[in-house]
C-alpha cells in the first residue's frame, strides 16, 4: 500500500478531493474529540483533459430520496442485470440500453479509474452563454478608454454564438439595445429607484421566453433565443464595438467637492432582472466594472459628499457606517436572485479608494463570480486579469462553467453539516443533510447545492458523522459529488465523483487515523472556518476561538494575515482577500497564509528561506509570493550595485543574471495566476518594501535589534510578537492545557 501522502496526492490529482482525515473515526464522539472535523476540500471542475465525456446520461438509483449515480463502488449483478446503490442499498434494474453488460464489458462508470466521470446531457436545447457587461461611466477618460479597449478586445474572445449585452451606468442606468441601425438606442432608468423584474420586463418591453419559443428550441437549435438587449456576438460584433467606442463619460456635471453619482445598486439590479426574465437557469455572467463606490439609490455605499469618507473598519465596528447594512441587504438580495437563476456576477473594481466590495462581496461569493480589485483600469493588473477570464483549455472551451449545481450523496453513517465556498444553499432537505448542524452553527447551509462553480478551485465541505450504531470494522463510508453545469459549449454536463474512505475505531486504530491526517488540508480547512467566522463575528473573538481550537505554526501567520487581521486593511480589501482565500486550491491558499520567500544570492542556487526578518540580508535578492503580490526585494548591497549599473558591464554578467533570475521566476507566476498579482520591484529602504516587512516574522525588531547578535537581518519596526515569542507562549499553553 502506498503511503498516505501519495494516496492523498493521487486522490487529489484524480478527483480533486482532499480530506482532513483519510480514515474516519467510527463514532461521533471520537470525531468531535479530534478537533479538526472530517471535511473535504473539493474542486468540482478539476481540469481533467484525459477524461473523455460520456455521451449518455448517468444511471440513477431509483429510490426517490437517493438518486445516487451508478459508480464503481456499486455492487453489480451482471447476470440479473441489477445493481445495488452503495448509499441506500436499493437494488436497481439496468435499463435496456445496458443489456450488453458483463464482467468483461463494463460501462465506463463502473471502472475503478473512473471514480470521476463526466456525462454529457443530450436532452434539451443548447442554451447560449450570456455575457452582460455592466459598465460604470463615472471615471476618468483615461480609465474609461482603457476599459473600453479591454471590453472591445473581450468580444473577440467570446464564442461567436454567445449572447452579449451592455448596461452602462452613471447617474442614470442605460440598457443598450443592440443591433439597431443608425441611431443607437438605449433604455434609461433612474438610479434611485429599484425595479422588480416584472416592472423591468414591462418597461423594456420584454416577453418571457414563451412556450412557443421553448418548443421551437429543439427543432432549431441553431437559432438561439435572443432579444434586443442580448444578441449573438457574431451578429453585433461591429455594432457593439462602435457602441463601446462611443461611450462617453457620464454627462452629468459633478460639482466640486462631490463624488459623481453612481447608481451601481440599481444597475446591478437591472442586470440581474434582465437576465432573470430572459434567460433563467441559463448560464450567464454579469460582468460589472466599477470605478468607484455606489453613491446613490439602493445599494449606495457612501454619500456624494467628498468630505465624508467611505466607511472603514473603524466605522463598522463603531456602527458608524450608515449605509452598510442597507447596501449589504440590497446586494445580498440580488446575489440570491442571480444565484437562483444560475447567473454569475463578477466585479472588477478599479479605483484608488474603496468601492464597496465589502457590501457587494456576496454578489460574487454567492454566485461564484470573480472579484478583482485594482487601482485603475489602465493597469496591466486589470487588463491581463480580465483577459485571463477568457482563457481556454486545450479543447478550446472556456475554463469556466455556468449555472452549476452540486449535489452530495453520502453513506448513511455520515451527513453533511455545511459548506464554505462560493456557493449558496438551495435549502433542500434530504437524508444526506444533517438536521442539527452542531459544531458549526455558523453554517446554516443545509444543503449544498453549489452555484456556478466556474472558477472555483476548491470548496470546502464539512461532514458530520452520525453514527447510531458502531460501524462494522473494515466498512467504508462513501461520498458522491454530483455536479451539473453548463459547459461553455452550451452543453449541459454532469460530473460525478465518488469517494470512499475506511472507518476506524479511534480506540483501537488511533495510529491509523493519525497517520491519515492531512496537515495541509486541515490547516486550510481550519483557516477557512476561521475566516468564515471572521466574516460574521468580530475579529478578536475569532482569534480567540482559533486559539482555543488548535494552534500550529502556520496559525501564527494566519493570525497575522489579512484574512483575519483587519488592521491596516479597508473593508473592501478584507473582502477581496477573503473572497480569494475561500476559493483557491490548497497550495494557493497556503501561499496566501504563509507567503513563500525565495532568496537569490551569489552563494548558490535560489533557495526558499524562512519568512523571517532574519532572511533579509543585504547581499540577497528576495522574491516573495503572497498570492496577491509578487515582490522582488533587492538587499541593500545588491541595490547599490544595481544603482551603480554593474549589471550593464560585461565583466559582471553574472550579476545581471542574478538580477534577472527572480524576475523570470516572477513572470512565470504572473502568467499563470488568476487574478494577476500585483508585481512589485523594490529594494532596501524602498517604500514598497513595507509589503515584505509586514509579512516576515519579526524576529528582530527595534526592541531586540542587537540581542540576536551576529546574523544581521533587517529589524522590523513593529510591536507584534515574533514567532519565537508566540511559540514559547504556545508551548506553555499546550503543557498547561489540562487546566
Amino acid at each position: 500500500m502506498t503511503t498516505f501522502p501519495e494516496f492523498i496526492q493521487q486522490n487529489e490529482d484524480r478527483d480533486g478531493v482532499r480530506f482532513s482525515w483519510n480514515v474516519w473515526p467510527s463514532s461521533r464522539l471520537e470525531a468531535t474529540r479530534m478537533v479538526v472535523p472530517v471535511a473535504s476540500l473539493f474542486t468540482p471542475l478539476k481540469e481533467r483533459p484525459d477524461l473523455p465525456p460520456i455521451q449518455y446520461e448517468p444511471l440513477l438509483c431509483s429510490r426517490a430520496t437517493c438518486r445516487a449515480v451508478l459508480n464503481p463502488l456499486c455492487q453489480v449483478d451482471y447476470r440479473a442485470k441489477l445493481w445495488a446503490c452503495n448509499f441506500c442499498y436499493q437494488r436497481n434494474q439496468f435499463p435496456p440500453t445496458y443489456a450488453g453488460i458483463s464482467e468483461v464489458n463494463q460501462p465506463a462508470e463502473l471502472l475503478p479509474q473512473f471514480s470521476t466521470i463526466e456525462y454529457v446531457v443530450q436532452r434539451g436545447p443548447q442554451m447560449p452563454l450570456n455575457f452582460l457587461y455592466v459598465v460604470d461611466t463615472c471615471m476618468e477618460d483615461e480609465d474609461l478608454q482603457a476599459l473600453k479597449e479591454s471590453l472591445q478586445m473581450s468580444l473577440s474572445l467570446l464564442p461567436p454564438t454567445a449572447l452579449v449585452g451592455l448596461i452602462t451606468f452613471g447617474r442614470m442606468i442605460q440598457v443598450h439595445e443592440l443591433g439597431c441601425e443608425g441611431i443607437s438606442k438605449s433604455y434609461v432608468f433612474r438610479g434611485t429607484k429599484d425595479l422588480s423584474a416584472k416592472q423591468l420586463q414591462e418597461m423594456l418591453g420584454l416577453s418571457k421566453p414563451t412556450a412557443a419559443q421553448a418548443n421551437r428550441g429543439p427543432q432549431q437549435p441553431q437559432v438561439p433565443p435572443s432579444n434586443r438587449f442580448l444578441q449573438p456576438v457574431q451578429k453585433i460584433d461591429m455594432n457593439l464595438t462602435d457602441l463601446l467606442g462611443e461611450l462617453q463619460r457620464d454627462p452629468w456635471p459633478v460639482t466640486q467637492g462631490k463624488r459623481p453619482l453612481r447608481s451601481l445598486g440599481v444597475a446591478l439590479s437591472i442586470a440581474v432582472g434582465l437576465l432573470e426574465c430572459t434567460f433563467p437557469n441559463t448560464g450567464a455572467r454579469i460582468m460589472t466594472f466599477i470605478g468607484g463606490p455606489a453613491t446613490q439609490g439602493p445599494g449606495m455605499v457612501v454619500g456624494d459628499e467628498l468630505k465624508t469618507p467611505i466607511r472603514s473598519w473603524h466605522d463598522i465596528e463603531k456602527d458608524n457606517a450608515k449605509f452598510m447594512k442597507k447596501a449589504t441587504k440590497h446586494y445580498e438580495a440580488l446575489a440570491n436572485r442571480a444565484a437562483a437563476n444560475g447567473h454569475i456576477i463578477d466585479i472588477y473594481a478599479c479605483a484608488l479608494d474603496q468601492t464597496g466590495l465589502a457590501e457587494m462581496k456576496c454578489c460574487t461569493n454567492y454566485t461564484g463570480g470573480y472579484m478583482v480589485m485594482a487601482d485603475s483600469f489602465n493597469t496591466s493588473l486589470f487588463k491581463q486579469t480580465f483577459q485571463r477570464v477568457f482563457t481556454k483549455d486545450v479543447q478550446g472551451a472556456f475554463k469556466m462553467a455556468f449555472a452549476g449545481t452540486l449535489e452530495i450523496k453520502t453513506s448513511r453513517e455520515i451527513k453533511i453539516s455545511g459548506a464554505i465556498g462560493p456557493c449558496i444553499s438551495l435549502n433542500a432537505k434530504g437524508p444526506c443533510v444533517s438536521e442539527n448542524v452542531r459544531g458549526h452553527q455558523e453554517q446554516q447551509l443545509c444543503l449544498i447545492h453549489l452555484q456556478a462553480p466556474l472558477c472555483i478551485k476548491l470548496s470546502t465541505f464539512y461532514f458530520f458523522l452520525q453514527h447510531n450504531a458502531p460501524i462494522p470494522q473494515g466498512g467504508r463510508g462513501a461520498i458522491q459529488y454530483v455536479t451539473q453545469y453548463q459547459h461553455s459549449s452550451g452543453q449541459r454536463r454532469i460530473r460525478v465523483t465518488t469517494i470512499a474512505r475506511n472507518w476506524a475505531d479511534a480506540q483501537t486504530q488511533i495510529q491509523n487515523i493519525a497517520a491519515s491526517f492531512d496537515q495541509e488540508a486541515s490547516a486550510i480547512l481550519m483557516a477557512r472556518l476561521a475566516v468564515y467566522r471572521a466574516e460574521s463575528e468580530e475579529g478578536p473573538d475569532v482569534l480567540r476561538w482559533l486559539d482555543r481550537q488548535l494552534i500550529r505554526l502556520f496559525m501564527f501567520h494566519l493570525r497575522r494575515s489579512p484574512f483575519l487581521q483587519v488592521f491596516n486593511n479597508s473593508p473592501d480589501e478584507s473582502s477581496y482577500y477573503r473572497h480569494h482565500f475561500m476559493r483557491q486550491d490548497l497550495t494557493q491558499s497556503l501561499i496566501m497564509i504563509q507567503p513563500i520567500l525565495y532568496a537569490y544570492s551569489f552563494n548558490g542556487p535560489p533557495e526558499p528561506v524562512l519568512l523571517d526578518s532574519s532572511s533579509i540580508l543585504p547581499d540577497r535578492i528576495l522574491l516573495m509570493d503572497t498570492f496577491f503580490q509578487i515582490l522582488i526585494y533587492h538587499g541593500e548591497t545588491v541595490a547599490q550595485w544595481r544603482k551603480a549599473g554593474y549589471q550593464d558591464m560585461p565583466e559582471y554578467e553574472n550579476f545581471r543574471h542574478l538580477l534577472q533570475a527572480p524576475v523570470d521566476d516572477a513572470q512565470e507566476i504572473l502568467h499563470s495566476r488568476f487574478p494577476m498579482p500585483r508585481y512589485i520591484d523594490t529594494e532596501h529602504g524602498g517604500s514598497q518594501a513595507r509589503f515584505l516587512l509586514s509579512k516576515v516574522n519579526p524576529s528582530q525588531t527595534h526592541n531586540n535589534m542587537y540581542a540576536w547578535g551576529q546574523e544581521s537581518g533587517a529589524p522590523i519596526l513593529t510591536d507584534d510578537v515574533s514567532l519565537q515569542v508566540f511559540m514559547d507562549h504556545l508551548k506553555k499553553l499546550a503543557v498547561s492545557s489540562a487546566a
Binding site: G182, I183, Y187, V188, R190, M203, E246, Q248, P251
Partner: protein
C-alpha cells in the same frame, strides 16, 4: 315672388343637408301653421310663379337646362311643389323657403354685383337704384351690374337712403310707434313682436327665436304684397317685387337710421344720408347716439290680419351696420397718425390702419381700454355697468414704421422706482424740489432722485432731459433688469426649445411625424434672436414618445445621435443633460441625421397608446436640469390612455350639453395637469401644444398646461398631410419664430382709486396681483379688469402702468413698461362717448368664456344679455334725450354692441350646434381667452369681402359686406375671414371670366372644392386675389386654411355658420331678432 324664388333655391340647399332642412321645417312649420300662413301666402303664389320664370332664365337659366340639372331639377320640382303647397298648407314647403329665402335674395343681388365695372352707378344711383335698380336688373345679365353697385356700396347706405327717402313714410310708422308705446295693450303687443309676446298669435314661431323674420315675412304679404323679410333681398333680386318692398320698408322702418347716418358713412354715399338723418334727429346729441325704432307695431296689428299681429319687419339695412362703422372709422381716423399724448381719447378701431405716435401713453397696439373715460365713482360705474378693462398685449409686434420700445439702462442699481408702490419711472412722475425728488403719480409718495439720475428742471417743471429719456416721455419702453430681478439672483441661462413629438401609430400614419421632422431641419435656423446677425442663443432638444419617451443625445461630438428610452413614465426624469440641449449650429449634422431618421425609425410602429403628462414632465425636468427657462413644443395626436400620471378617459358625452353639468366638460378631468402647470410656471417652462386628433382628445384637460403657462394650443382635427400640411407648417413656423419672452411676471399698477381685480388670459397666478407667464409671445394678450376702491378725480385722471419682467430670447432679463392714462368723468355721457365696443366685446367674451367653467351656459348667456341691456338702458335713461319708448336708442360708440354681443352669444362655446364637438368648444374657449381685440373682432364678426368687386388696378380692398346670406350675390365670389378660417365662396352664377381668372376654369362645376390654395395664374386678377389672401394670413397669428365653398355645396353649411347676422341652425338669433330682443330687455329695464 321672392318667396317663390327662394324656395326654389332652398330646395337644393336643403336637400344635401337634411339637418338643415329639418330645422327650419320644424321651426317654421310650427310658426306658420298657427300664424295662418295660408293667407299670406296665397298672394305670393301669384307673383312667385310669375317671377319664377324670370330667375331661372336670367340667372340660372343655363344651369337648369345644362350642368346643374340635378339640383336644379330638384329645385324646380320642389318649387313646383312649393307652389302647390303654398296655396293650401304652408307646412311643408314654406319652411324651406323661409330659411333660404334670405340667402337667396341676397345672393341674387350680389350676383348682379359683378358689375362693379359700372362704378358710376352706385353712389348716387344707389338711392334710386334701390327702388329702380331692380327693374333694370331683371334683364338677364346687364341688369346684374346695376344691382351690384347698390349691393356693395349701398349695402349699408342704400338701406339708409331707402329709408330716408321714405323718411316721409316714417310718419306713418311713427304712428305705429306711438301705437306701440300705448301702455296697456300695446306694451304687450310690443314686446310681443320682438320676442315672446306674439306667441299668442305665433307662439311657436317666436320661441324659436330665429324664425321671427320669416314670420314677419308672413305678416307682410298682406301689406304690400311684398314680403317684408325679403324686402332687401327682394328689392334687389326680384325686380318686380322691388317696388313693393321699398314701400313696405319705408313703412315699417320709417324712423330709421339716424344713427347710421350720423356716423358718416362712406364719404360719397354718406353725404346725403347723414343729413337727412341729422335733420331727422337733430335735437339729440349729434351723432352721439343712434336711434333705432323697432318697428313693432302692436297697434298695426289691427290693420293687419290677426296673424300679422306679430310686428313689422325691421329692415336689416336700417340697423347699425358694422361695416358702416368700420368704414367710417377708416375714413375719419385712418389718415392721420394717432397721437397717444391726449388723455381720454379713444384710438381708431382695430380694423383701421393707422400710425401711432407715442407721446406718453402706450400705443393701442399694446393697450386698449374698454373706456377711456372712467367714471369717477364706483356708483357711476355700477350704474353704467360698462366694464372697465384693459386689453394688454405687452410684446405686441409693431408695424415696421413704428419704433419698438427703447431700452433704458439705469445702471447697477436698477430701474428707478417709487419707494412705496414700486411703480417704475414714467412720464407721470412729477419732479419737485428742483429735480431732487419726484412724486409718484400713482400713489403720490415722494421719492429721492438718486444722484446719478439727477437733472435740473426747466421753467415748466419738466426735467431738462425729458425728451432724451424714453422713460420720461414715452408710453412704452424697456428697462434692463439687474440681477435682483432674476430668479435666485442669478443671471438667467439662455432659454431652450424642446421638441416633443408623438410617434404613435396615428402620428406616423397621418404624416405628422415626417412633416415635423422635415420642417424642423430648416426651421432651426430661424429661432428667435434679437440681433439678426448673430446666431440664436436658444438651445434645442428633441424627444419622441408614445407609451414611453425617447430622448435623443445630439451632442456635437457624436457621429450618430443616440436614443435613450425612458419607460418609467410613472416617475419621469431626464436621462441626460449634456447632449440633450444643444446649440443648433454646433450639432447641426447630428440633429439633421436625427430628424432624418426619426420618421423611418417609427415607420412600422404599432403602438397606439400615448402618454401626455410625463411628456411635459420630461421637458420640465430637462429645463430644470439645465436650469433655464424655455418652451416645449408638443406634437400630440390622441387621448393619453396609457398607464401613466395624467392618464385620461374618454368623457365626451353630448348629452350633457345644455344641462347644468355641461360646465364639467370645460373643466379638466384630473387635477394633475393643474399641478403640473404650476411647476412649469415656476421653472419658466412654456408649453405649446399641437394637436392632431382623430377623435376626442379632451382639449379641456390637455390644454390646461399650455393655457396656464402662456403657451398656445393648435388643433388640426383629422389632419391630413396633403391638405393641412401648409396650415400646420405655417403655424409652426410662426410659433417658433415669433418674438417671445420667458419666465415673465406682469404686474399692473394703477393710481389710487382703482385697482386691477381680475385677469383673463393664458397665465398662472399664485397671488392676486402678479400674472405669471412661463412664456409670453407677441400674440398673447392679457385682459385686466379694474374696479373702483375709491373716488377718482377728474383732474388727475386714472393712471395705469403695466410692467412685465421677462427674459428675452437672448437670455437678457428685462422690464417692459406700458403706461396708460385715461380720463375720469363725472358725467355718464362722457363715459359712453369714449368707449370702445370691440374691446368691451373682447372683455365680455373672455369673461363669459371663463364663466362657463362654473355656470350653465344658459345662465352665462342670460347674464351677458342682461349686462348689455343695463349698459344700454343706463345710457337711454341718463344720456339720451327723451323719446318714445318704442325707439331703440344706442350710444354712438356702442351701437354695434348688440350685433357683436349676439355673435358672442351665438359662438360655438356659448351656443353650440349639434355638430360642434366638445374639443372644438374647449379649444375655442381657450383660444379666445388670449385673443387681442383685433383677433376677437374678426373672430366674432368675420370679414366678408366681395372679391368680384375687386379693383385690380388699385391696392385698396373692396368694402366688406355684412355677414348675412342676404347679401351674397349668386353671381359673386366672396372671401370670408374669421382669423381661423378663410373661405372663398363662389356663387353659382359667378362670371365665367372671373372664374377663369381665379380658378383657371370657366365652369363653376369644375372648380375643385378640395383645393386649399388658389392656382397661380398669370393674370392680375389671380395675382391680386392671392395677394389678398396672403395679406389676410399675414395679419393673423394663425395661418388660415383656404376653403373653397361652392354655392350649394356641402361645405356651404360650414360657411353659413359664419354669416353671423343670420340666425343659425342651432338656434342662434339673427341680428334683427336679437336687436329686438335687446330692445325689449332695455325697455323692461326702463319701465
Amino acid at each position: 315672388m321672392n318667396v317663390n324664388q327662394q324656395p326654389h333655391m332652398a330646395s337644393p340647399y336643403g336637400q344635401p343637408q337634411p339637418g338643415y332642412q329639418g330645422y327650419p321645417q320644424s321651426g317654421y312649420g310650427g310658426q306658420h301653421v298657427p300664424g295662418g300662413y295660408p293667407a299670406p301666402y296665397a298672394p305670393y303664389n301669384g307673383p312667385a310663379s310669375a317671377y319664377q320664370p324670370g330667375p331661372p332664365q336670367g340667372m340660372r337659366g343655363p344651369p337648369t337646362s345644362g350642368a346643374p340639372p340635378v339640383s336644379a331639377a330638384q329645385a324646380y320640382s320642389q318649387f313646383g311643389q312649393g307652389d302647390i303647397q303654398n296655396g293650401p298648407p304652408p307646412l311643408g314647403a314654406p319652411p324651406q323657403r323661409s330659411v333660404f329665402s334670405q340667402p337667396f335674395p341676397t345672393a341674387a343681388p350680389p350676383f348682379s354685383a359683378p358689375g362693379p365695372t359700372q362704378p358710376p352707378g352706385p353712389p348716387l344711383a344707389s338711392q334710386q337704384t334701390f327702388p329702380q335698380a331692380p327693374p333694370p336688373s331683371q334683364p338677364p345679365f346687364s341688369s346684374a351690374p346695376p344691382q351690384v353697385p347698390p349691393a356693395s356700396y349701398g349695402g349699408p347706405p342704400p338701406p339708409v337712403q331707402a329709408s330716408h327717402p321714405r323718411a316721409a313714410p316714417p310718419t306713418s310708422q311713427p304712428a305705429a310707434f306711438p301705437g306701440g308705446p300705448p301702455p296697456t295693450s300695446t306694451p304687450t303687443q310690443y314686446t310681443g313682436p320682438p320676442m315672446q309676446q306674439p306667441p299668442v298669435s305665433q307662439p311657436s314661431s317666436f320661441h324659436s327665436g330665429p324664425p321671427p323674420p320669416p314670420t314677419s315675412a308672413a305678416g307682410f304679404p298682406p301689406q304690400g304684397g311684398a314680403p317684408p323679410r325679403p324686402p332687401h333681398p327682394g328689392i334687389q333680386g326680384p325686380p318686380l317685387a322691388s317696388q313693393g318692398p321699398p314701400m313696405s320698408q319705408a313703412n315699417h322702418v320709417a324712423p330709421p337710421q339716424p344713427g347710421m347716418l350720423a356716423g358718416p358713412p362712406v364719404p360719397g354715399m354718406a353725404g346725403p344720408p347723414p343729413q337727412p338723418g341729422m335733420q331727422g334727429y337733430p335735437p339729440q346729441q349729434n351723432g352721439e347716439y343712434c336711434r333705432y325704432s323697432c318697428c313693432l307695431s302692436g297697434s298695426q296689428a289691427s290693420d293687419i290680419p290677426p296673424v300679422q299681429k306679430t310686428r313689422h319687419r325691421i329692415d336689416p339695412d336700417a340697423i347699425p351696420s358694422p361695416i358702416q362703422v368700420i368704414e367710417d372709422d377708416k375714413a375719419n381716423k385712418g389718415s392721420e397718425p394717432f397721437v397717444t399724448g391726449v388723455r381720454g381719447q379713444a384710438p381708431p378701431l382695430v380694423t383701421t390702419n393707422f400710425h401711432v405716435k407715442d407721446q406718453g401713453n402706450a400705443s393701442p397696439r399694446f393697450i386698449r381700454c374698454t373706456a377711456y373715460n372712467i367714471p369717477c365713482t364706483s356708483d357711476m360705474a355700477k350704474q353704467s355697468q360698462v366694464p372697465l378693462a384693459a386689453v394688454i398685449k405687452p410684446l405686441a409686434t409693431l408695424p415696421p414704421d413704428e419704433n419698438s420700445p427703447y431700452i433704458v439702462d439705469h445702471g447697477e442699481s436698477g430701474p428707478i422706482r417709487c419707494n412705496r408702490c414700486k411703480a417704475y419711472m414714467c412720464p407721470y412722475m412729477q419732479f419737485i424740489e428742483g429735480g431732487r425728488r419726484f412724486q409718484c403719480g400713482f400713489c403720490s409718495c415722494v421719492t429721492e432722485v438718486p444722484p446719478h439720475y439727477f437733472q435740473h428742471l426747466d421753467h415748466t417743471g419738466k426735467r431738462v432731459d425729458c425728451y432724451d429719456r424714453p422713460e420720461l416721455s414715452l408710453g412704452s419702453y424697456e428697462f434692463l433688469a439687474t440681477v435682483d430681478y432674476c430668479k435666485n439672483n442669478k443671471i438667467p441661462q439662455p432659454p431652450a426649445f424642446i421638441f416633443l413629438i408623438d410617434v404613435s401609430y396615428n402620428a406616423v400614419k397621418n404624416g405628422m411625424v415626417r412633416i415635423v421632422c422635415q420642417e424642423l431641419k430648416t426651421l432651426l435656423d430661424y429661432l428667435p434672436r434679437e440681433n439678426p446677425d448673430v446666431q440664436s442663443n436658444i438651445r434645442v432638444g428633441f424627444a419622441t414618445y408614445n407609451k414611453v419617451l425617447h430622448f435623443y443625445n445630439v451632442k456635437a461630438s457624436l457621429a450618430q445621435p443616440q436614443m435613450m428610452v425612458v419607460s418609467d413614465v410613472a416617475d419621469m426624469f431626464v436621462p441626460l443633460l449634456d447632449g440633450f440641449l444643444v446649440n443648433v449650429s454646433e450639432s447641426r449634422v447630428v440633429i439633421e441625421s436625427l430628424l432624418d431618421q426619426i420618421p423611418d425609425m417609427f415607420a412600422d410602429t404599432r403602438e397606439t397608446e400615448t402618454v401626455f403628462g410625463p411628456v411635459i414632465q420630461a421637458g420640465l425636468e430637462a429645463l430644470k436640469a439645465a436650469d433655464c427657462a424655455g418652451k416645449l413644443f408638443v406634437f400630440h395626436t390622441s387621448l393619453p390612455i396609457a398607464e401613466a400620471p395624467g392618464k385620461l378617459k374618454n368623457r365626451e358625452d353630448k348629452k350633457l350639453v345644455g344641462t347644468d353639468k355641461e360646465k364639467s366638460l370645460f373643466q379638466p378631468q384630473v387635477s394633475f395637469y393643474a399641478n403640473l402647470a404650476k411647476e412649469c410656471v415656476a421653472q419658466g417652462c412654456c408649453v405649446d401644444l399641437f394637436l392632431f386628433p382623430n377623435q376626442y382628445v379632451d382639449v379641456a384637460t390637455l390644454g390646461v398646461v399650455p393655457t396656464s403657462t402662456g403657451g398656445s394650443v393648435y388643433k388640426y382635427t383629422y389632419f391630413q398631410a396633403q391638405s393641412d400640411q401648409e396650415r400646420f407648417l405655417n403655424d409652426l413656423r410662426k410659433d417658433i419664430q415669433k418674438k417671445v419672452g420667458f419666465d415673465a411676471v406682469m404686474r399692473v399698477r394703477t393710481s389710487t382709486g382703482i385697482r386691477a381685480t381680475d385677469f383673463f388670459g393664458s397665465f398662472y397666478m399664485s397671488n392676486t396681483t402678479d400674472v405669471e407667464l412661463a412664456g409670453l409671445d407677441c400674440d398673447k394678450t392679457v385682459t385686466v379688469e379694474f374696479r373702483h376702491d375709491d373716488k377718482l378725480s377728474e383732474e388727475t385722471g386714472a393712471l395705469m402702468q403695466c410692467a412685465v419682467l421677462y427674459t428675452s430670447c437672448s437670455g437678457q432679463r428685462r422690464l417692459r413698461i406700458h403706461n396708460m392714462a385715461v380720463n375720469c368723468c363725472a358725467q355718464l355721457a362722457d363715459l359712453y362717448r369714449n368707449c370702445e365696443t370691440d374691446t368691451i366685446i373682447n372683455f365680455f367674451a373672455k369673461y363669459a368664456y371663463r364663466c362657463v367653467l362654473n355656470n350653465p351656459t344658459k345662465n352665462v348667456r342670460d347674464s351677458l344679455v342682461n349686462q348689455c341691456a343695463q349698459i344700454l338702458a343706463c345710457y337711454r335713461k341718463n344720456c339720451a334725450s327723451p323719446s318714445s319708448a318704442g325707439q331703440l336708442i344706442l350710444p354712438e360708440c356702442m351701437k354695434l354692441l348688440p350685433v357683436y354681443l349676439n355673435c358672442v352669444l351665438k359662438s360655438d362655446v356659448l351656443h353650440p350646434g349639434a355638430d360642434v364637438s366638445l374639443d372644438d368648444r374647449a379649444y375655442l374657449r381657450q383660444l379666445v381667452s388670449a385673443m387681442d381685440v383685433a383677433e376677437s373682432h374678426v373672430f366674432f364678426y368675420p370679414r366678408l369681402l366681395p372679391v368680384h368687386k375687386l379693383d385690380v388696378e388699385c391696392d385698396t380692398l373692396p368694402v366688406a359686406i355684412r355677414d348675412s346670406e342676404e347679401r351674397l350675390s349668386k353671381g359673386g365670389i366672396y372671401l370670408l375671414e374669421t382669423g381661423l378660417n378663410l373661405f372663398l365662396w363662389v356663387g353659382a352664377n359667378a362670371q365665367q371670366e372671373l372664374l377663369q381668372n381665379i380658378f383657371g376654369t370657366p365652369a363653376f362645376g369644375q372648380i375643385d372644392s378640395n383645393m386649399t390654395s388658389l392656382p397661380i395664374l398669370d393674370n392680375p386678377y389671380s395675382k391680386r386675389v392671392r395677394e389678398i389672401v396672403e395679406s389676410f394670413r399675414a395679419q393673423r397669428s394663425r395661418y388660415m386654411k383656404l376653403m373653397v365653398v361652392k354655392q350649394e355645396d356641402k361645405l356651404e353649411l360650414i360657411f353659413k355658420h359664419f354669416l353671423v347676422e343670420d340666425k343659425n341652425n342651432s338656434g342662434g338669433a339673427s341680428y334683427v331678432d336679437f336687436l329686438c330682443h335687446m330692445h325689449k330687455e332695455i325697455r323692461q329695464l326702463l319701465s
